[in-house]
Symmetry: C2
């Protein structure tokens, strides 16, 4: 357990989280229920959400020990959503390894996911009873929103038309609110007022929107050596990202016909370069970058409004967020 | 909300629960997330678990209003387990209606089930903060145990040998602990001491074991007009019930060979009557009934040990349990 200090380094917080994950022992039996949980939690990842929760707590308190279990709750919950999403998306791989439903089977993936969701709640029960009802309420609301976001995302695949507003609302629910909730819960555990906790929530949601827009851009324009996923994957699958939605709005005449034609093409390599060229011609990259900037600025503005914390103490959160922005473009 | 009285009738408690269910409005969108929840909750059922929770509360308190949301939490949780179990068991029907994964699809059933689990937790957050950590801990432990029971039940299908002890442990986890937890949570909400709540938990678990053994017996020997399910269904599917496990232990020579032969027969009608005849010959019905009696007596003994409640006040719980025993044999 951390001894407490004014400002932890990100690497120290990640070490705390990774130690929690690697030292966690689930029951040995039933094997097919618990082995997938240990497997899933061991696949790695940036541990961004629990790190944000601990940073937020540390903004208001030198002692972050009460935030460690809740930080793990968020990480277990996040991995539960990935596990069930992978079933729904028929995904064969997760972070370069077989997904649970591929390595075992769908029933195992459903049931071990269910247990992970309960395990997340188990990790919340140690919270100070004075804070527990409020934090449970935030967690419950967020959990439902993340499921709503996943449903809306699946609905988009069957919809011909998706607006930018609908797209932004989907990514807000599916990915951003959990970043906001992580920060808000951490802040409350650190003793923040509800007004300050709300400002951190807004920071997190806006950053989440900005990160997702960055992901959309990198999927098309990223450096293949740094991005980690196949460049053009969204184009190949006709994913209704900010770029595609905006391009379909802006394309006229020949451009519109060309875009429509390429969307149904089975020559995937030509499709990626043709659609990328259309995106560039239509200027949707700049529009996405401007929107990303707008969300990032809104987020930093919320952070700036937290008056009870000196600016120097906010540096870690600022640099963490900034690091996520330039990570691989 | 109920006004409070010394002893509610079962029908009054069921009315409270059914009103809660029928007045509950989930968000309208995303449709495929929320419609299945309303559908599933509307399929009916005996509402036994929330009724037990309210009865247990009413044992210790005239005012049961604080127990209504937690009773609903248990019913929503129970229906979540049915929804996900139906996917895993490939069940086409639930209470005579299409299962959610048949009526919609598997993805819808996974995700709306996930939301139901979170909705159950939402219904717990209104609990008095002084009791919330303990009740959450009971709920979490029980939820994990129910999942463990489901996994062990699925494991049994692939196992050649299952012992009576393993079988009883499986049904304890899969069905009995939730009855125990319903009673324990209700008791704590009514102001019971933890010792009395524990005695009610033991009553519930033992009753659950007895009910499941009764179900095993009725599946073979029940009155088709009253049982509601196909008589012999367990025999047809070679389900490793108390009766089959015991019969395989006791059958010798020709009986053992005959039983083994019938288990692989595709003449289902002949299989049901031949295996039933073997069960009768081997006396496994009487053994199951004796075991059922033993659990019921243990349960009633625990109820008897609750000294702080007058015997007259325990009558409702006794008669409710007894009614469940004779319901359709």
């Amino acid at each position: 357990m951390p001894a407490g200090k004014p400002m932890y380094q990100i690497s120290e917080l990640q070490q705390i989280i990774n130690e929690q994950i690697s030292s966690k022992r689930y029951p040995v039996t039933p094997k097919e229920l618990y082995e997938p949980i240990t497997y899933m939690m061991g696949l790695g990842g940036k541990r961004m959400r629990p790190a944000l929760l601990l940073i937020a707590c540390n903004l208001f308190s030198d002692d972050i020990s009460a935030a460690v279990d809740p930080a793990m709750a968020i990480e277990v919950f996040h991995n539960f959503t990935l596990l069930h999403d992978d079933i729904m998306d028929l995904a064969p791989l997760r972070r370069g390894n077989q997904t649970v439903h591929k390595k075992w089977n769908t029933n195992v993936a459903i049931l071990s996911g269910d247990v992970m969701l309960v395990e997340a709640y188990k990790l919340l029960t140690s919270i100070n009873p004075a804070l527990l009802p409020d934090i449970l309420t935030i967690f419950n609301r967020t959990a439902v929103e993340v499921c709503e976001g996943q449903q809306i995302d699946m609905d988009f695949e069957k919809q011909e038309h998706v607006s930018i507003e609908q797209y932004l609302e989907m990514i807000r629910l599916k990915t951003s609110v959990l970043l906001g909730a992580s920060l808000k819960i951490g802040a409350l555990l650190g003793g923040a007022t509800s007004a300050d906790a709300k400002l951190l929530y807004d920071f997190g949601v806006n950053m989440g929107l900005a990160f997702q827009l960055q992901d959309d851009i990198l999927d098309v324009y990223g450096d293949p050596a740094k991005f980690g996923k196949q460049i053009g994957g969204d184009i190949i699958s006709n994913k209704k990202t900010f770029l595609l939605i905006k391009a379909r709005q802006l394309a006229l005449g020949d451009d519109a016909a060309s875009l429509q034609k390429w969307l149904t093409s089975s020559d995937l390599e030509a499709k990626v370069s043709a659609v990328t060229a259309l995106f560039t011609k239509l200027g949707v990259r700049q529009l996405a970058e401007a929107e990303m900037e707008r969300f990032a600025e809104q987020g930093f503005a919320s952070l700036g409004q937290i008056g009870s914390v000196p600016e120097t103490r906010k540096e870690l959160l600022r640099s963490f967020a900034n690091r996520l922005f330039v990570r691989e473009s």
